[in-house]
């Protein structure tokens, strides 16, 4: 039993830290630090820098331009990444469709799409959920009807994250309505510029435009854009939902948010003293920090098992549940830390380049909106209730 990092791993951490310090653009990092909205251009600029370093497709095998890092190295990278205030890595291309194409795609699909993910030419979005198919994803109704060497696709996708920026969507569509639920589904790659694709914004409760509805109206999709066999799309979908889930706990993000919480608590005043000295608030921070320590150790156990060739299964559901709860608890405390200044809401103050005077302390501006935004963590990616159903079934055998 040894819970320390090896000398090589520590050296790796130093290397990652050095890279982030020298290459992460300061304007982007400060947007992340200040809770401002990240633009498409910001994402592309930063992800191109990562790709140039060869550190964008962290999870991919080396032959496709990945890093070949061990699970522990990836964990270290995630931690340093968040600590440096690098922006959330848009996962749909690099972490989702990329691995599916590597695993199930044809040689042509690999040659065509993988380099375009690395070069940021393609921005992918995920077309899984539909109005009637959320937790019960296998009930998707979007239809794909074969017409010569095309499918004609009709249906509606929803909650499509950053679909407004995307030129490509991977999508679950029903090719065989007669087959049993999971069996008639195919995995299609759809060019968003095809006639019949309409993207409409959904504004969320924090005033952000992060998700969309995507309407598919007689959209012609070449058959060669199907990944895997016809009717085997569920296999791809499931693979994607279980692929490399060791990072799902979001320990790096949580640590960064906790550090921010401590900083904010030092800058706020309660009863004439810093809030960080208030015994009630101190105890609340301490409790969440202790929970985070437990999560990190649990995460490291899972990562270490993966390092030794184990495949994380339902353990990743535990990491997802606890990770999201802890991140939500921190966002709750951040909002509470600023007291009455959690109330003012100036959406324009969340845009980069805004140089108006803040209302109250500048650090307070995004905190309520972020707290409400973070409610999504326990809803998407398989809601926490669904994760618990998985744990009950797979781990407990209930």
């Amino acid at each position: 039993m040894d819970i320390t990092y090896t000398a090589e791993e520590c050296a790796f951490r130093d290397e990652v830290r050095r890279f982030l310090r020298s290459r992460l653009p300061a304007d982007i990092a400060s947007k992340v630090r200040e809770g401002k909205r990240i633009t498409r251009e910001d994402y592309v600029r930063w992800q191109s820098i990562l790709a140039e370093q060869g550190w964008f497709a962290v999870h991919w095998p080396k032959q496709y331009g990945g890093t070949g890092w061990t699970p522990i190295q990836r964990h270290i990278f995630d931690e340093e990444y968040a600590a440096a205030h690098a922006p959330y890595l848009v996962p749909f291309g690099v972490s989702m469709v990329g691995p599916v194409i590597i695993k199930f795609g044809t040689e042509e699909q690999k040659q065509r799409y993988l380099p375009r993910i690395l070069s940021q030419e393609d921005w992918w979005c995920q077309g899984y959920s539909e109005p009637g198919a959320g937790s019960d994803l296998a009930s998707v109704k979007t239809r794909a009807v074969r017409d010569g060497d095309h499918y004609i696709v009709n249906g509606q996708k929803t909650w499509t994250t950053l679909g407004q920026y995307a030129n490509m969507m991977f999508c679950l569509a029903r090719t065989d309505p007669a087959a049993k639920q999971q069996e008639g589904i195919s995995f299609l790659l759809i060019d968003m510029n095809t006639p019949g694709v309409t993207v409409r914004p959904i504004i969320t409760l924090d005033g952000a435009h992060e998700v969309n509805e995507v309407f598919l109206d007689d959209v012609r999709v070449p058959v060669e854009n199907r990944v895997g066999d016809e009717g085997k799309g569920w296999t791809c979908a499931k693979f994607l939902l279980t692929y490399e889930r060791t990072g799902i706990a979001g320990v790096g993000h949580a640590k960064q948010a906790l550090a921010h919480l401590k900083d904010v608590a030092q800058r706020q005043t309660a009863n004439g003293r810093p809030l960080s000295e208030d015994p009630v608030f101190r105890a609340r921070i301490a409790e969440v920090e202790v929970d985070l320590m437990a999560l990190e150790m649990t995460n490291l156990r899972v990562i270490s098992a993966a390092q030794n060739g184990g495949v994380p299964g339902a353990e990743s559901s535990m990491l997802k549940v606890r990770g999201t709860e802890i991140r939500q608890a921190i966002s709750d405390l951040l909002r509470r830390a600023v007291g009455p200044y959690a109330l003012p809401f100036l959406p324009e103050a969340l845009e980069g380049g805004w140089d108006g005077a803040p209302v109250g302390p500048a650090h307070a501006a995004p905190l309520s909106a972020q707290y409400f935004n973070r409610r999504k963590l326990s809803i998407y990616g398989g809601s926490n209730e669904i994760q618990k159903n998985i744990i009950a079934k797979m781990i407990l055998g209930l």
């Binding site: 959320g134 937790s135 929803t158 007291g339 109330l343 809401f345 409400f372 809803i379």
Partner: protein
């Protein structure tokens, strides 16, 4: 002991509930929010016509002599509709303070137009460094001829940008946290030296930062004795907390109703999601939280006339329960709605925002827990706090 409403209270409940049901639909509310001031002037006049603005005031001041129960009835209905109009700010807080501190002339001058819906008051009690403590006041009022000169910064003044008169707390003596030396002044926001910066709040209301830069007011602008406003302030803050508790109950009821309805109609895996026992139990927890909150709102409403120490102890308790249960109901209402709960389009997300942010008005659960814990001591001091272990179990909401 009798928890039922009397005939007049029942009539009041029916009237207000009907107005909210028929004239305060969620889509209509969007329209109201877009009007200047962030609420509907027509609604405000309607509330005046219906006598709602006169409810808590004594008959000698043109009111109906209503008490905590009557305000609770109004605020609970307002909570269900997420009412935007400044009832809490103008009637309960500012109006209440005028009634308690004002001379007969001042009451006549300020309350008559308020009750008639022609004037709106706001109470500027908060300060940037004061957090939730209304006694932490550094704004100064210095004698200046036969009047005063006010300087300072009042923070997050609820509806401060639409009020035609601000009641400003300022220090005529003493240090920043002293009980003595607190005075209240009526300030015309159009007066030279007053800067009002209005903004939206995330729970759908409006507030303002108010800066006072050597603002001259006459002696007749002072409400009540010089330096002796603390007791009256304590009393209106208590009344404000009770009103917020009632509003939170209304909002929790609406959030629970919408969620229950969603559990019955939303289908996944071939069944209404309300069939899943995990969600049944969650909904039960929400309902229990609502009932506990309702009980405490009643306790608060019925405690306003008690001696100050006991009143404030109970108000603190109520605000703790409301803060925690409101947040729990809000978070779970979103969660059980799935993606829908995250949208601006769904009323439930607006209810959730109001419920979470009610905790940021007039003191949050931690603030009031501290007051409650200190209330066994001789005087109610916010800096005497419970040891952490006594409440750490409430850190995470139950039922997750």
């Amino acid at each position: 002991m009798d928890f039922s409403l009397n005939d007049e209270q029942r009539m009041l409940d029916e009237t207000v509930s009907r107005v909210i049901r028929e004239q305060y639909g969620f889509e209509q509310r969007r329209g109201f929010a877009g009007e200047p001031g962030g609420f509907s002037a027509a609604n405000w006049s309607l509330f005046a016509e219906l006598g709602l603005l006169a409810i808590p005031f004594a008959e000698e001041n043109g009111g109906f002599g209503g008490g905590g129960a009557e305000v609770m009835i109004v605020q609970r209905a307002f909570g269900r509709g997420l009412v935007l109009e400044p009832y809490l700010a103008a009637v309960v807080l500012a109006g209440g303070l005028v009634e308690r501190l004002g001379s007969p002339e001042q009451r006549e001058r300020l309350l008559s137009p308020l009750l008639a819906g022609k004037s709106r008051l706001a109470l500027a009690w908060g300060e940037p460094e004061g957090r939730y403590d209304h006694r932490t006041v550094t704004t100064r009022a210095e004698r200046d001829g036969d009047g005063y000169r006010l300087s300072g910064h009042k923070a997050v003044v609820l509806h401060g940008d639409s009020a035609d008169r601000l009641l400003v707390t300022a220090r005529t003596a003493g240090g920043p946290a002293d009980r003595d030396g607190l005075s209240v002044f009526v300030v015309d926001p159009a007066q030279p030296g007053v800067g009002v910066r209005g903004y939206a709040t995330i729970d759908g209301l409006r507030a303002a930062e108010v800066r006072l830069d050597g603002v001259h007011v006459g002696a007749d602008a002072r409400l009540g004795p010089e330096g002796g406003a603390a007791d009256a302030l304590d009393a209106v803050m208590a009344a404000g907390c009770a009103a917020l508790c009632a509003e939170a109950v209304g909002a929790m009821e609406a959030a629970c109703e919408l969620t229950l309805d969603y559990l019955k109609t939303r289908r996944q895996f071939g069944a209404p999601i309300g069939r899943f026992q995990a969600l049944q139990h969650r909904m039960v927890d929400m309902r229990i939280a609502l009932e506990q909150a309702h009980s405490m709102a009643i306790l608060a409403a019925c405690s306003l006339n008690l001696p100050a120490a006991e009143r404030d102890r109970r108000i603190a308790a109520a605000k703790v329960v409301i803060g925690n249960s409101g947040r729990f109901v809000a978070e779970q209402a979103i969660q059980l709605h799935g993606g829908m709960g995250m949208t601006d389009e769904a009323m439930v997300s607006h209810l959730a925002k109001r419920l979470v942010l009610i905790d940021h008005h007039l003191g949050d659960a931690d603030f009031h827990l501290g007051r409650f814990a200190a209330s066994g001591d001789d005087d109610l001091r916010t800096d005497k706090l419970v040891p952490a272990s006594r409440f750490s179990h409430s850190l995470r909401g139950s039922g997750r």
